[in-house]
């Protein structure tokens, strides 16, 4: 079922406060059986860039906790996805 992620939020605890983050994108991977979420709190890093947080979500684990991504293959996949988004947006 498709659903609209535009109005969805992700809560993030930062500096002791709960922050609602906008979801920028999601995608799945049948290879890892995980979903991936890109979200942002619109903060700007010291290098002037906007921070996009990317986390994974394993639907088979209890709890609805986002996990960090450390696997290189997953990171590579994220890069590809972002490039796709970029290409599609500018096509």
């Amino acid at each position: 079922m498709d659903f609209d992620i535009n109005n969805e939020k992700v809560q993030m605890e930062k500096d002791g406060q709960i922050i609602d983050c906008d979801i920028l994108f999601t995608f799945d991977s049948e290879d890892t059986m995980k979903s991936y979420i890109g979200y942002t709190d619109h903060s700007i890093a010291s290098n002037g860039r906007k921070n996009i947080y990317v986390s994974s979500y394993d639907p088979l684990k209890p709890g609805f906790v986002l996990e960090n991504i450390t696997d290189k293959k997953e990171l590579q996949m994220i890069q590809e996805v972002l490039q796709k988004f970029d290409a599609e947006a500018n096509s």
């Binding site: 920028l24 799945d28 995980k34 860039r49 209890p62 906790v65 590579q76 994220i78 988004f85």
Partner: protein, 1445 residues
């Protein structure tokens, strides 16, 4: 009189007297003596006086004896009592120490307990959640503390054990000493005597000999195990009798030693006297030479037997004795020439001087070229007297002036006081010394060169040593002389030299001598001459032997000399000598004490000379050594001078001798008794068999020595021989020692004594060994390595050691072997039956696995469970192997019993599978993605509009942060939607479903058991994909739930049995309360009561145990720690019991619970069945009575202080009735949605519904009930309808199928309630919609439903619409409210706000719950029913009965 009092026994009419009484009696005796003495003074009559004196003497002797006994006993008893006191003190000290250590041990235990409690408190008191790492740290910290404390505790315990053993040993020792004191009192002898008697009577030879006399010889020759009971009794009694006889004898003859008494009593000859240690008399070579010289000077045979005159001077022939020269050659007179000068002086040749040992002057004349020496005139007269052996030819010469002048130097020979002159010539060039030839024999010197003429005298060179000797002995007391040393130029003129004839050297074959040191372990020595002759180096120190400079040689050199000598036809002979060692060892000077003469002391004449004493008085031969009697003053002087001497150093030694006073120079012939020393066997002595037979000494293996049959003798026997010889008078005998070589191979025998490390190193030895060493085996038999062994005490051990040390052939090698003995070994063989199972039909024997292991037979193949034993099939070979081992067993003795398997079930058990095998089974052939692919593929890409816009604009560049500073959380709804497609993707679904299917359908319980063991609350394998872990987890939980269910069944059974016991106990109490109850009946009831109490206590303990195990499985084995802490944070705690959540804490209740809880633990510890049952029931009742369940609009909830659940509950809130009721509301919501969907409303319908909505809001209760009844039917209908309408179509179908599976299994009983709930919650987690969302969603699409069908429903159930509507609204509100409940753990949130499907499922489950927990306001079970029933009559108490008993 007690044993502790000192009892003094005095011979005579008195039996036992106290110390004071003894003193009194002695005083009395002394007074009597005083009276008698006075009587003597006053008595005038001689006869009467004599009588009084006799009486007085007797009394004095008696008093003397008694005083001596008194003193001896006082010492003896005092010593023992002192020793007992010391041991007592040691025991007390040790007991104190043990007490301290026990306290330390107890403190350590308490400390351990405190650590455990502290850990538990820390875990219990947590308010927040601990991470796994923190928890691990806590556990590690406390584990370390526990380990450390445990180590201390173990160490203390080990010390306690050791000290207890020591204490036991001390007590044994004390008891023995007390027994000895008691025995000494009874027997009237000292404690030392008692011990000595015991020691003597331990010797086998003694006991056997005595037993022989008592007619028990054959009995004692048997092994103890072979003796009958009567025989054993007879031996025991005989031993007691012997002991008492010997004690009585000792009492009578206090001065005799025990062994002598035994010999006397039983006419034995078992005396073993400790031999005197052999003394090595070191005789310096010079002394030996001097003695030889003296011997040489002494007449060969004395034919006149008489008392020697008191003024006899050694060296001179007594005037009254005739000298007889025994000629060894045929009676041919020797001819000599005597020359008389014109001045009347007589001269003879050197041969004559040698022959007759004449004193000469240094005056010499040459007659016909031959030297003649002046002799004393009186000697000349003697020589000229008639003789059968020689004759002197006389010649007269006229001396010239020169020679006469030379003759003026001749000393006047007629003067007996003129000292002999000996001239020694020293070569001015070489500094060698030369002496006249006669001096060689005079001083027994060895010539070092051929004859050399010096100043007209035939001289030969002597060694420096000999020169020193001559010089040092000139002032000897019996043959003094003066040495004059002249330095000359010696012309070695060949024409004047004459061949030196060595009188002692045989002319036929040259002989060289090698020396064997008698006091040097037969070390071999060779002279420097011999060594240089044969080309060997003279190594080491110079050792003077017989005037030669010798050196020690090794066997190689010795062999070389022998070979070289043989090559040149020279004979090698050995001479045994005493080596004068140049060591710092003092020279031993022996003083002889004549025991037969009141210890009169004799000193060796040579020693007296050494120490500068004058030699006078009678010479006495003592052990073939010429000695003088010395008085006490001289004795002291002797010792003093010996001590003062620094070079050489002397030591004085005493030796007891038994002298025959007629034993000196009387010419009495002695009979020699040969004793042979085997040089090859450390001088093992041998005596002739004849002698040994004569003396009745044991004869060992005989050998022929010098043509005489001989046997080896022990040192003790040798001393007996010596004593015998010394005491012999007719004929007089002396021992002649001969060195021989009796070649024998020394046999080495290893003997083993066992040392028990488990019993304070108690020693044990085999009977044969003890008998071999002459020790009677006594004491309890201990079997070591299948052989009877006897304890060995310190005395026996020492005896064995002594004998081992002194034994020669065989040589015993003693070996102590440490064993850790088990002391429960019995002498009698134990019989053990072994059961084997025989399947007659299939000719197959099954053997229990432990039996095969016991007999070391390898088993293979599958395990079969027969009669509760793990058994194996065995082949015929292995069966025979087993039979052989069983038949050959002795102690224990095994016997096989074959059990037919007809009535026994044989269950084959396969070997447990390995976890890897199981995982492989699950995943085989499946494509488990996630780890193996080269790259990951993405799907379902969903960019947000905002993001797309940003990308389009190109305004932003981004940092991709993939390791976030804080982990984000998703809402449930979003999460489920997010992964919806993923989970439903074909690939993932296929693999996961297949795995699930395999887990569900193909894994056996045994395989689940293996996985469960591996799992234990954590992730199964970290290198596996998460998917697989989670799936396995599901199955593991299912498996665990099954186990819990079994345990719950066990709890239920135990409860029911406990209730029955309580009922029976109540009845018995009633019976026991009857007044008319007969004593036998009362006794019978008490018996039954006791049994029931024991059974009841057992059931109570079972309940506690099962409940704890099951709840542990639920709480930590299944859910993991995280869940536990969540539960704790919600105040759900106490395994087995659940608390109410929000009530105030009830202190009074808690105090009661504490009392009963502690009472229960105490009763279990003390194994008090009454206490266990009482406290258990009190506790359970408390919980039960304070558990209140109330029903309200939101469902049933627990409102009491406790939530009591007798059975093991899911350690989770999800089982809470409150929560389960929430599922009811889910049902309502679902149904509501269904209905509204079913209503394909048009505007009109909508309006109707809205109106209905407003009117029926208050009637909510009915809706619940209604829907409940229709739950099942509606579920199916609703799902169908919903599906038709596309509402959450995809989500629901998956969820629905899962729910349906759960439902089906639960309905069929394949899973239990708690399991079903849990699975349902999981499904809720997995599915994609929250209750609120779904409800909202459903409402949105309400218009999409099929109105027609819905209307039909509504028409049929008009009220339902209203109710449903209301219910729906309530549910919605409730669901909203639920979403905001923050006091509940998040999982409740999750569980409750499950998907639509979850809710519908919950309805079904909830209906089951209701049926199961129908009692006690909707909750409870048959257990609570039983409890309720029981408590109707009040809580049973056993206190009254206890008082009565």
């Amino acid at each position: 009189m007690s044993n502790e009092e000192k009892v003094y026994l005095i011979e005579g009419p008195h039996s036992t007297l106290s110390k004071e009484e003894v003193k009194q009696s002695l005083k009395q005796a002394f007074d009597e003596i005083k009276i008698l003495r006075k009587k003597i003074d006053s008595e005038k009559d001689f006869a009467a006086r004599e009588a009084i004196i006799t009486e007085l003497t007797a009394k004095i002797e008696d008093l003397d004896t008694r005083v001596s006994q008194f003193n001896a006993q006082e010492d003896s008893v005092d010593e023992v009592h002192e020793e007992i006191s010391q041991v007592d003190q040691q025991i007390l000290d040790l007991q104190k120490e043990l007490k301290t250590m026990s306290q330390e041990y107890e403190a350590s235990y308490q400390k351990m307990q405190a650590i455990i409690d502290e850990q538990q408190r820390q875990l219990d008191s947590i308010n927040g959640l601990f991470s796994d790492e923190d928890l691990q740290n806590i556990r590690e910290e406390y584990a370390e503390k526990k380990l450390s404390e445990n180590a201390k505790s173990v160490s203390i315990k080990s010390r306690i054990d050791s000290q207890q053993k020591h204490l036991a040993a001390l007590k044994r020792r004390k008891n023995k000493m007390k027994r000895d004191v008691e025995a000494s009192h009874e027997a009237g002898i000292s404690v030392a005597d008692v011990n000595e008697i015991q020691n003597v009577l331990k010797k086998k030879t003694v006991v056997d000999a005595i037993m022989n006399q008592k007619g028990l010889g054959k009995v004692v020759s048997k092994k103890a195990s072979e003796r009958t009971a009567e025989e054993k009794k007879a031996v025991r009694e005989a031993k007691k009798e012997i002991e008492s006889e010997v004690r009585a004898a000792k009492k009578e003859h206090k001065k005799e030693d025990i062994l002598s008494l035994v010999e006397a009593l039983y006419s034995l000859q078992v005396q073993y006297r400790k031999g005197r240690s052999p003394r090595i008399l070191i005789i310096p070579d010079r002394q030996l030479d001097t003695i030889r010289v003296r011997v040489h000077n002494m007449p060969e045979k004395i034919i006149h037997i008489d008392e020697a005159s008191a003024d006899y001077v050694p060296g001179d022939i007594p005037a009254d004795m005739q000298e007889v020269m025994e000629s060894r050659e045929p009676k041919v007179k020797k001819k000599f020439l005597m020359v008389k000068s014109n001045k009347g002086l007589c001269y003879v040749t050197s041969e004559a001087i040698d022959e007759f040992d004449l004193s000469v002057s240094d005056e010499a004349i040459f007659v016909d070229g031959n030297p003649f020496y002046q002799i004393r005139l009186e000697d000349a007269e003697k020589l000229l007297a008639d003789s059968d052996d020689y004759e002197f030819e006389q010649r007269t010469v006229e001396l010239d002036e020169q020679k006469e002048n030379e003759n003026d130097e001749v000393v006047d020979d007629t003067n007996h006081d003129v000292v002999e002159q000996v001239t020694v010539y020293q070569d001015s060039e070489s500094n060698d010394y030369y002496v006249p030839k006669y001096a060689l024999s005079r001083f027994h010197l060895k010539p070092k060169s051929e004859e050399v003429i010096i100043q007209g005298r035939a001289c030969t060179r002597i060694s420096d040593v000999d020169y020193d000797y001559i010089l040092s002995h000139q002032d000897n007391g019996y043959s003094p002389y003066q040495v004059r040393t002249d330095t000359v130029d010696i012309e070695k003129n060949n024409s004047e030299e004459k061949t030196v004839v060595e009188p002692e050297t045989p002319k036929k074959k040259e002989v060289i001598l090698l020396y064997k040191g008698l006091n040097d372990e037969n070390g071999t020595y060779a002279s420097e001459e011999v060594l240089s002759r044969f080309g060997f180096d003279a190594l080491g120190d110079v050792v003077p032997i017989e005037g030669n400079h010798c050196h020690a040689i090794d066997s190689v050199t010795e062999d070389g000399i022998q070979a070289a000598a043989k090559a040149v036809d020279i004979e090698v002979k050995y001479q045994h000598v005493l080596i004068e060692k140049k060591s710092n060892d003092p020279i031993v000077l022996t003083l002889y004490k004549d025991v037969n003469d009141n210890g009169q002391v004799y000193a060796n004449i040579m020693d007296l000379v050494r120490l500068g004493f004058s030699i006078d008085g009678e010479v006495t031969t003592v052990e073939e050594i010429a000695c003088h009697k010395i008085n006490s003053v001289s004795e002291k002087e002797f010792i003093f001078r010996a001590e003062q001497s620094k070079d050489p150093i002397y030591s004085v030694d005493y030796r007891n001798v038994y002298l025959n006073k007629n034993n000196h120079f009387s010419g009495i012939q002695r009979v020699e008794v040969p004793i042979y020393h085997d040089l090859n066997d450390n001088n093992q002595p041998y005596a002739t068999v004849e002698l040994l037979t004569q003396l009745g000494l044991p004869i060992n293996e005989t050998v022929v020595i010098e043509g005489v049959e001989c046997s080896s003798v022990s040192r003790e026997d040798l001393n007996r021989i010596r004593d015998f010889v010394e005491q012999s008078t007719d004929p007089l005998q002396s021992i002649a020692y001969h060195d021989v070589m009796v070649t024998k191979k020394v046999e080495e025998i290893t003997v083993t004594i066992y040392r028990d490390t488990n019993d304070n190193n108690q020693l044990y030895a085999r009977r044969e060994l003890l008998e071999q060493f002459g020790i009677t085996p006594v004491g309890e038999i201990t079997i070591i390595e299948g052989i009877d062994c006897y304890p060995v005490d310190a005395t026996m051990n020492q005896s064995i050691l002594d004998q081992v040390v002194t034994c020669r052939n065989p040589k015993y090698l003693l070996y102590y072997r440490d064993m850790a003995l088990d002391h429960v070994e019995k002498l009698e063989a134990e019989t053990i039956d072994i059961k084997l199972y025989h399947d007659i039909d299939h000719s197959q024997v099954y053997v229990p696995k432990e039996v095969l292991e016991q007999f070391g037979i390898k088993f293979e193949g599958n395990i079969f469970i027969i009669d509760g034993h793990d058994c194996c099939q065995i082949s015929m070979d292995k069966h025979q192997q087993l039979l052989d081992k069983v038949n050959s067993s002795e102690n224990p003795k095994y016997a096989i019993q074959y059990m037919p398997t007809d009535d026994l079930a044989i269950k084959e058990v396969h070997p447990k599978p390995h976890v890897e095998t199981i995982i492989n089974h699950i995943t085989e052939g499946l494509e488990i993605k996630g780890k193996d692919v080269a790259y990951y593929r993405s799907s379902n890409l969903r960019p947000a509009k905002m993001f797309v816009n940003d990308l389009k604009s190109g305004n932003w560049i981004y940092n991709i942060v993939h390791v976030c500073p804080a982990v984000g959380k998703l809402t449930v709804g979003f999460a489920t939607k997010l992964s919806g497609k993923l989970l439903l993707s074909e690939t993932g679904k296929a693999s996961m479903q297949e795995i699930e299917r395999r887990l569900r359908e193909e894994l056996t319980d045994e395989e689940w058991e293996v996985l469960f063991d591996e799992y234990k609350g954590s992730v199964l394998k970290t290198d596996m994909n998460n998917q697989i872990n989670d799936l396995i987890l599901v199955g593991l939980k299912e498996y665990a739930y099954r186990k819990v269910e079994n345990l719950n069944q066990g709890i239920k059974d135990s409860y029911l049995k406990l209730f029955a016991v309580v009922g029976s106990l109540r009845e018995i109490e009633i019976e026991l309360g009857r007044d008319d109850l007969a004593p036998e009946e009362e006794e019978k009831y008490f018996e039954i009561r006791k049994m029931l109490l024991s059974d009841g206590a057992c059931y109570a303990k079972n309940i506690l145990e099962y409940r704890k195990e099951a709840n542990n499985l639920l709480s930590s084995g299944i859910h993991g720690i995280e869940e536990d802490f969540k539960a704790v944070s919600t105040k759900l705690s106490y395994v087995g019991m659940r608390f109410a959540k929000t009530n105030d804490f009830n202190n009074e209740l808690q105090a009661k619970l504490a009392k009963y809880g502690q009472g229960l633990n105490d009763a279990i510890a003390k194994d008090d069945p009454e206490g266990i049952i009482s406290n258990f029931i009190e506790l359970e009742s408390c919980y039960f009575q304070h558990t209140d369940i109330e029903r309200d609009a939101l469902g049933k909830r627990s409102i009491g202080f406790k939530y009591y659940s007798p059975l093991a509950e899911e350690f989770d809130y999800r089982n809470d009735p409150f929560i389960s009721d929430c599922f009811f509301t889910g049902v309502v919501a679902t149904t509501g949605v269904q209905v509204f969907h079913a209503l394909k409303v048009n505007d009109q319908n909508n309006q109707i519904l809205q109106e209905l909505q407003q009117h029926t809001k208050s009637n909510q209760g009915t809706a619940f009930y209604g829907m409940r009844q229709q739950a099942h039917q509606d579920l199916l209908s609703a799902s169908q309808i919903m599906e038709n309408n596309g509402i959450v179509k995809h989500d629901f179908s998956s969820t629905y199928s899962q729910i349906q599976e759960i439902t089906t299994r639960y309905a069929s009983g394949a899973i239990n309630q708690s399991q079903a709930l849990n699975e349902m919650a999981l499904v809720a987690e997995k599915t994609q919609a929250t209750l609120v969302d779904v409800a909202k969603e459903a409402l949105k699409t309400v218009t999409d439903t099929n109105a027609k069908e819905s209307l039909q429903f509504i028409v049929s159930n008009p009220e339902a619409v209203v109710h449903l509507n209301n219910g729906f609204m309530d549910t919605l509100e409730y669901a909203n409210g639920m979403a905001e409940l923050s006091s509940l753990p998040s999982d409740i949130h999750t569980s409750l706000l499950g998907a639509l499907g979850t809710a519908t499922f919950a309805a079904q489950v909830a209906s089951r719950m209701e049926s199961k927990y129908g009692k006690k306001q909707g909750y409870g079970n048959e257990v609570t029913e039983g409890l309720e029933e029981m408590l109707k009559e009040g809580v049973p108490s056993f206190e009254e009965k206890a008082k009565k008993m």
